[in-house]
């Protein structure tokens, strides 16, 4: 039993077991969360504001509880490491956390974009050659070549978020965690950021994203967790979670428009399909099919 549990922990990049957390000033922010993330998959965390999405993201890299204090129950294992037993600095090479605020998460020490990317590595004392090599690779991955010598504060929001992702990528973490990365971006910035994430997934990265951009999440996540009041209200394959339109709406989350439309069409027309579309392309084929059937039940 113990051996199985240990194997589980070692094989999955993230294992959360019965995790509960209370901030010093706010109790029961997370209640008894348990889930696993498979290697190479994209997990989406959705939920209303105040559900604990940010807290969960911070728990994955050790900020909760090391930085904030508070009371913890249960465990989180990141790449086999117990977050309670390792410092945030140690975990930073395993988990990279990207925050919502593009400008505020910049270090403030770096005068150029490439220095900003090198920041994490220089904090951890890596030799210069390694730093230069990895910086260049990260720069290419996020598509910011040509901007290395600019000041990080001169970039647009989307570029700054991509810079933040590059900073984290340079440290070669096993898991990338993003806490509402598109929240403060304009539509172009959002597209840029999500394109980078999809590119990373194609390369085999493991990603956890907490977001409100349901439509985007529908295009690339494998699994979803619906969080409400610190509890997991629904989890599973993205498609299955999106299908639970009523539950999503009662938790204060809007499902993708096309899913909701299909759901309403079913309700109104009394149709019974076993799947709903979650992206616009799927919706196209779904409704074409419906039209072909002549709307017959």
């Amino acid at each position: 039993m113990v051996l199985e549990a240990m194997q589980d922990i070692l094989m999955h990049p993230i294992v959360v077991e019965g995790f509960s957390y209370s901030y010093p000033s706010k109790p029961n922010v997370l209640n008894d969360l348990s889930f696993r993330v498979e290697r190479g998959e994209a997990l989406g965390i959705i939920g209303p504001n105040g559900a604990g999405k940010s807290t969960l993201c911070k728990a994955l890299n050790g900020l909760v509880p090391h930085f904030y204090g508070g009371r913890v129950k249960g465990r989180i294992y990141v790449v086999g490491m117990d977050t309670l037993k390792h410092t945030v600095a140690e975990l930073s090479t395993k988990v990279g956390l990207v925050f919502q605020e593009p400008e505020t998460q910049l270090s403030g020490l770096a005068l150029t974009v490439e220095d900003e990317i090198s920041f994490g590595l220089s904090m951890l004392g890596y030799p210069k050659e390694t730093i230069q090599e990895r910086t260049w690779q990260a720069l290419e991955k996020v598509g910011l070549q040509g901007l290395e010598k600019r000041s990080p504060f001169e970039l647009s929001g989307g570029q700054q978020q991509r810079l933040a992702i590059a900073t984290v990528l340079a440290m070669r973490p096993e898991v990338l965690v993003l806490d509402e990365p598109a929240a403060q971006l304009d539509p172009l910035g959002k597209t840029q950021v999500f394109n980078v994430l999809k590119e990373l997934l194609r390369d085999g990265a493991t990603i956890v994203v907490a977001e409100h951009e349901i439509e985007e999440l529908a295009t690339f996540t494998d699994h979803l967790i619906l969080l409400d009041g610190g509890r997991i209200v629904s989890e599973g394959v993205s498609r299955d979670v999106f299908k639970q339109v009523e539950r999503l709406k009662s938790a204060g989350v809007d499902p993708p428009s096309v899913t909701e439309l299909a759901y309403l069409v079913e309700k109104v027309c009394g149709l019974n399909r076993d799947h709903y579309p979650i992206t616009v392309d799927e919706a196209l084929s779904f409704f074409l099919e419906l039209l072909e059937d002549g709307g017959r039940v």
Partner: protein, 211 residues
């Protein structure tokens, strides 16, 4: 600069030259007839009142000049060379970067307050209150940002107890050594003059206007 020096002078001269019990006030230069009292105005105090603020002005100018003419990378590299604790270096470097951002933010807070009905055509006292209305939001938002930045830094390994890799490099050139020796020599000479020719009230109580 005048903005800093003149008010201090206006404050220092009266306080220092009047008979308020300062030990170095000996030579009476003038006698003021104020409020029925016969007040002596002392030379020493007068002189001090003028020279102190000027010295402060010189110090501030020197600091500003240094800040404005030094390349940031060179400054940070130098701090690393002096092996100062990393947290201190970070403090200096972050300040250099973040002051322009704060200036931008004050501008946007000002516009926001104007849009909410802030009046600029008011008395001096009200203007001071307006100042508060700019400073308080700035402080609060900065505190919030500080927390976000702190956790971002932590997540990038800021607190790791390993020697940090220095990103910028700087080497001392011959010119630098020359400059340092000259500076040291001049300082020593001035110090000698200062002490022996008696410009300091602690060495000689009697001193000249040039002090």
């Amino acid at each position: 600069m005048m903005l800093v020096v003149l008010p201090w002078m206006a404050l220092a001269v009266p306080i220092l030259s009047l008979p308020l019990g300062f030990p170095w006030n000996e030579t009476v230069v003038y006698r003021l007839n104020l409020l029925g009292l016969d007040l002596p105005v002392y030379l020493e105090g007068l002189a001090w009142g003028f020279t102190w603020p000027l010295r402060i002005g010189v110090t501030i100018s020197a600091a500003l000049l240094f800040y404005l003419t030094t390349q940031h990378t060179a400054l940070i590299a130098m701090l690393f060379k002096f092996r100062l604790p990393f947290r201190f270096i970070y403090m200096v470097a972050a300040t250099l970067q973040l002051i322009p951002l704060m200036v931008d933010e004050v501008r946007s807070i000002y516009q926001a307050q104007l849009a909410r009905g802030l009046r600029t055509d008011v008395s001096i006292v009200k203007k001071l209150w307006n100042f508060l209305l700019l400073v308080v939001p700035l402080t609060l938002s900065s505190l919030g940002k500080v927390q976000t930045r702190a956790i971002a830094l932590e997540s990038r390994g800021f607190s790791a107890q390993v020697p940090k890799t220095v990103l910028y490099d700087i080497r001392f050139k011959t010119v630098d050594y020359l400059f340092f020796t000259c500076m040291a020599a001049v300082t020593l000479y001035l110090g000698y003059l200062y002490v022996t020719a008696g410009y300091s009230p602690f060495v000689r109580l009697r001193f000249l206007l040039a002090g």
